[in-house]
């Protein structure tokens, strides 16, 4: 059993299919993310990457297929139930709590760590107080890591587009993910910032998070951080492999990279 546990991937998707009315957005997609891995999910616009994310994290119920996380079948679980297992995601369309400050956003991210009984809510004891202190300290540290300390107490609606992307990642980190899934986290960062961000990501894996699944169109970033890459096209698997191999794959170049790769 223990031996098997080691080889068992953290996340495994089998045969995922998603149809919206007449449109099949994702068709029979299967891939896995192993412990300690950084996997990239790429593909042309509308290929079905975000839809995959939504199926993996319970925001959509797959028309067909199954999802396993840490050995449990999480297909069609509720999003929050999946999050509680340690599978945390960010969104492609910027989603933050706009009226809260950066710090409050990140503090709220610690929800799962600070969960408590109803009794403790109304009659908090020493334990609750200590947990609260720890959460605050951790929140401050995460804001720091993401390079947002300058904006610590600014309400989120004051941030620029790029800063918001960083804040989203910070909130996701606060939830202490086992597997972190990021949907275009570097969109809105300039080339230079994106590379810095990539470095940060690499330092996270193994420490703050076990594995990383990342959707991103910034090829420099993807090639720089990913151990393995999965390519979707028109909802179907197009290729899978090491970054170098993907770069050299003519089908990927044709469908996705365009002339730049040539």
């Amino acid at each position: 059993m223990t031996a098997l546990h080691n080889t068992e991937p953290l996340l495994r998707a089998e045969n995922l299919t998603m149809r919206f009315g007449g449109i099949t957005a994702v068709k029979q997609v299967g891939f896995a993310v192993g412990p300690g891995e950084i996997v990239g999910l790429i593909g042309p616009n509308g290929a079905g990457k975000t839809t995959c994310f939504n199926m993996l994290t319970g925001f959509y119920t797959p028309t067909e297929g199954r999802v396993f996380f840490n050995g449990t079948d999480i297909t069609s679980h509720k999003p929050h139930a999946i999050a509680r297992l340690g599978l945390i995601r960010s969104f492609q369309k910027t989603n933050v709590m706009k009226r809260l400050t950066v710090f409050e956003n990140v503090l709220t991210g610690h929800y799962m760590e600070s969960r408590q009984s109803l009794l403790a809510t109304f009659f908090p004891g020493e334990k609750v107080r200590r947990a609260e202190c720890e959460a605050r300290a951790s929140a401050a540290a995460i804001v720091e890591t993401m390079g947002l300390s300058r904006r610590m107490n600014a309400p989120a609606h004051l941030l620029s587009c790029g800063e918001l992307r960083l804040l989203e990642v910070a909130v996701a980190l606060a939830a202490k993910p086992t597997l972190l899934m990021l949907d275009e986290p570097a969109a809105g960062l300039n080339s230079h910032e994106a590379m810095q961000f990539g470095e940060t990501l690499k330092t996270l894996v193994g420490k703050a998070v076990r594995s990383l699944l990342i959707v991103e169109h910034n090829m420099e970033l993807v090639m720089g951080v990913c151990d393995r890459i999965v390519v979707l096209n028109f909802g179907q698997m197009l290729a899978e492999g090491e970054p170098r191999a993907i770069l050299d794959n003519p089908k990927v170049a044709e469908a996705y990279l365009g002339k730049a790769a040539a």
């Binding site: 939504n54 925001f59 959509y60 969104f91």
Partner: protein, 290 residues
């Protein structure tokens, strides 16, 4: 069977009236997303001003109707520019509070001006029953139905077939993008609000000539109109018609076969039931994804 037919007819007539009185709200609440608690008061003002212009200015019903449409439309325009404009884009709550205040003000200022008595609005045509087989209906009701259906179809056409209609929908869905497309959003808001008020007032006068006008009728009209709009699905005209007819017929059948004593419960039970089954109402679609 004859009874059933008569109930059904009653229900359909009242259903059209419900749809008609909810029409203004479909624009203002359904499309513009202003939770307008003063809707019933615009309806009420339609009746009261209608009474005033037919009784004191001696206008006939139809000229009165036109004058009422203009007057309340203009008033609605002002309300939007002076009041609603200031709380736009701040979420639902300020609008709710504002229109509750407006509704309290309008009812009571009307009470002050004309008193609480029910008022009689001149009728468009002479009254008299028409017998269609076993079913009785009156000429005035038929006329009101025809006008009502015409207004509903007209409003639908404006929203879905005209440039102004597209501009309205764009403005309510994303005002920033709309202004970048060259749409004069402030004007569009005001025009929509005015149009909604006009429709409310028209139905108010039309129905006041069948029933009667009174300063305090607004509350019930607001409540039922909200029910109709929600039943049909926010912002959907076919939905408003379906919601109105559904409500009318359900009430008629319940009143007919169970008891008239608590017919008002039907609308609310329907809302609860339908929203449990279809959380976006009958005719509305969601365009939102994670």
């Amino acid at each position: 069977m004859d009874l059933f037919l008569q109930f059904l007819t009653n229900g359909l007539v009242v259903g059209v009236f419900y749809a008609l009185s909810a029409l203004g709200l479909t624009l203002i609440f359904g499309l513009m997303r202003v939770v307008n608690f003063a809707h019933g008061e615009f309806y009420m003002m339609g009746g009261v001003v209608g009474w005033f212009v037919t009784t004191y200015l001696g206008l006939d019903f139809f000229s009165g109707l036109v004058l009422v449409a203009l007057a309340i439309g203009g008033f609605g325009w002002l309300v939007d520019r002076v009041l609603i404009e200031r709380v736009r884009g701040q979420g639902e709550e300020p609008g709710i509070l504002l229109t509750i205040g407006l509704s309290i003000f309008l009812v009571n200022i009307t009470l002050l001006a004309i008193g609480p008595a029910p008022l009689k609005v001149a009728r468009a045509i002479t009254e008299g029953p028409i017998f269609l087989g076993p079913v009785t209906i009156t000429k005035m009701r038929l006329l009101a139905m025809v006008i009502g259906i015409a207004l509903i179809v007209g409003a639908y056409a404006v929203i879905h077939r005209t440039r102004l209609g597209s501009a309205m929908r764009a403005t309510f869905q994303d005002p920033m993008a709309a202004s970048l497309a060259g749409i004069r959003t402030k004007q569009v808001y005001a025009a929509t609000f005015a149009l909604g008020c006009t429709l409310s007032a028209l139905s108010g006068m039309l129905l006041a000539s069948i029933y009667s006008a009174q300063a305090s009728v607004g509350g019930l009209v607001s409540l039922k109109s909200f029910v109709v709009v929600i039943l049909g699905g926010m912002g959907s005209f076919p939905g408003a018609i379906a919601g109105g007819l559904l409500l009318g017929v359900a009430e008629a059948l319940w009143g007919g076969y169970v008891a008239t004593g608590m017919v008002d419960i039907i609308g609310f039970l329907l809302v609860i039931l339908i929203l449990v089954l279809r959380p976006q109402g009958l005719f509305s679609i969601r365009a939102e994804r994670a």
